[in-house]
């Protein structure tokens, strides 16, 4: 792990970042829309998915993010990946972000493995030259060399997720995001992915790692961020923070929290 004497640069800075969702704002005849037309107030329930969080993520560090479902982990990563727009505060990002928020997002079943890699590269904004240069490496990592020209609809679910992972780890970026994606793969390939992320973590890029599997977080991450009800509960050294996280009051209830 890196322990430079010089202070590391900030890769991501969240200041007062927040995201409020308004529930029940849908335009529906006889609902909010007509009430508004009649000049009546519309009462909407709001949810603070992310509520005034402020912290820095350092360049080159591997940061774990823990919290129960609905604590704001995914909302934060969606804002960082620029899929979702925040409603408060700001987020400053230095470097290219490569989000893996879902396995196989953007794959097309009619296209071959190779064509899907090109498609993913274009979606993620990776220069075509680099996409083609990394093609063999990606197929090798996914163990799909023999199926590179097979349409994805002939792939098993496992093959598709291997391809997705290979893309997520072989395309260049400064900040890699893994949101709960290791949960859906199993066996030897998961071990390879963990080892690969561990290797990446020590060699330059910043890694953001979300998992309900605290062993994985402990293994991969120097520091860990704990979110609770959309707020920043704590940010600190992984070992110490996880000790506190494991004994939180609601730990027993949410033990088997693995779903979504």
């Amino acid at each position: 792990m890196t322990s430079d004497s010089a202070p590391r640069q900030v890769a991501v800075r969240a200041s007062g970042l927040g995201k409020t969702y308004v529930l029940g704002e849908r335009l529906r005849l006889g609902g909010a829309f007509t009430s508004r037309l009649r000049g009546r107030p519309v009462h909407n329930t709001t949810i603070e998915a992310l509520d005034d969080v402020t912290f820095d993520i350092l360049q080159g560090e591997s940061l774990g993010i823990v919290g129960v479902n609905g604590s704001g982990k995914s909302t934060f990563l969606q804002i960082l990946s620029r899929t979702v727009v925040p409603t408060h505060g700001s987020l400053t990002v230095r470097g290219r972000v490569l989000p893996m928020l879902s396995i196989g997002a953007g794959f097309h079943v009619e296209l071959t493995g190779r064509e899907n890699v090109v498609l993913q590269g274009a979606i993620l904004g990776v220069p075509r030259r680099i996409v083609l240069a990394r093609m063999n490496e990606i197929m090798e990592f996914a163990e799909l060399e023999r199926h590179a020209d097979t349409p994805l609809k002939r792939y098993s679910v496992g093959m598709q997720s291997r391809l997705s992972f290979a893309i997520g780890m072989r395309f260049p970026a400064d900040i890699y995001i893994f949101d709960e994606v290791l949960a859906v793969i199993d066996g030897a390939f998961r071990d390879r992915c963990l080892a690969e992320i561990e290797h990446m973590a020590g060699s330059g890029p910043t890694i953001l790692f979300v998992s309900h599997d605290l062993e994985q977080v402990a293994r991969l991450c120097e520091r860990t961020l704990w979110l609770e009800h959309g707020r920043l509960r704590a940010l600190g050294q992984t070992a110490e923070l996880l000790d506190r996280y494991r004994v939180r009051p609601d730990a027993r209830r949410t033990q088997d929290d693995g779903s979504t």
Binding site: R82, L91, T92, F107, E110, L111, F141, E196, P205
Partner: protein
């Protein structure tokens, strides 16, 4: 299976770590409007890949493939010849009825198929909208470009038939301009329907019906000057009317309805501005709404 990672560095991976030029800082803040010309100009490569994907998918596992592009306008043409020519004997000012209808249908073919497919360009890419940051406008534009064969094939057919029938004139030089006008109008209309469809699923539900009726509400099967009074005014307010008039002027050298041209140009400009505003506004919450 060994768990040893490959011995390689993330060389271009990190300009920061490699001591190269630091990538620019990006500031993410609350916005009310998220759309820019750069969404398109900086993503030409992505548009190209998406168009290739859509075209490939469209004609895979289809026996007739691109022949379907001619089938739809041809089927309508046969119906129009029977209904409007044989039965109603519509006056087309000296132009043979089939050719007259074919010129109109060659424009309609693109509008109807591109807007039907385009309305679903975002809903049909749910995963991309929800999990990636690729500009959503790119998805809609790529879809519109992938529908271009249904403009090119019937339009070329119409021009060829017109030339064979001896309608060639210098006006033909401006035909691409009329076609571009059609694409711009379709793009503006589709940008609105596609972005609104994410929030309100009524839009893709209503659209097929609208398109079914729409073919009779533009001067496709009959000339605009056969109408008068209120119906003529309503027809003039359809922005497609001007496009079809302009296209017929190019291909058949018939005098266009000046008022309809002016009205349609104005409406197209308004629609483009409106589409920019609507799409940009809805793009802010698109990943939440989809």
């Amino acid at each position: 299976m060994t768990a040893t990672p490959l011995n390689r560095t993330y060389a271009h991976t990190s300009d920061l770590a490699a001591g190269g030029p630091a990538p620019p800082e990006v500031h993410i803040r609350p916005v009310r409007h998220r759309i820019s010309v750069g969404d398109v100009t900086a993503n030409l490569g992505l548009i190209r890949v998406l168009v290739a994907r859509d075209l490939k998918v469209k004609y895979k596992q289809s026996v007739l493939g691109p022949i379907w592009l001619l089938f739809q306008p041809f089927a309508l043409l046969v119906a129009f010849v029977i209904g409007f020519h044989s039965v109603a004997n519509v006056d087309t000012g000296g132009v043979s009825y089939a050719l007259f209808a074919l010129t109109g249908l060659s424009m309609w073919s693109y509008f109807s198929s591109a807007s039907a497919a385009g309305a679903l360009s975002l809903l049909g890419n749910t995963n991309l909208v929800r999990f990636t940051s690729c500009p959503r406008l790119v998805l809609t534009l790529a879809n519109l470009l992938a529908s271009l064969p249904s403009l090119l094939v019937p339009a070329v057919a119409a021009v060829v038939v017109a030339l064979v029938d001896g309608y060639g004139s210098a006006n033909l030089i401006l035909a691409p301009l009329a076609a571009m006008w059609l694409v711009l109008l379709t793009a503006a209309f589709t940008a609105i329907t596609a972005s609104a469809a994410v929030k309100w699923h009524d839009i893709p539900a209503a659209l097929p019906f609208l398109l079914q009726v729409g073919v009779f509400l533009a001067p496709i099967a009959y000339p605009a000057e056969n109408l008068s009074g209120v119906t003529r005014v309503l027809l003039t307010l359809n922005p497609l009317t001007g496009v079809i008039e302009a296209w017929r002027w190019c291909v058949l050298a018939v005098t266009p309805d000046g008022l309809a041209l002016a009205a349609s140009l104005t409406l197209t400009a308004l629609l483009v501005v409106g589409a920019w505003l609507v799409f940009g506004r809805l793009e802010v919450t698109m990943a939440d709404d989809i």
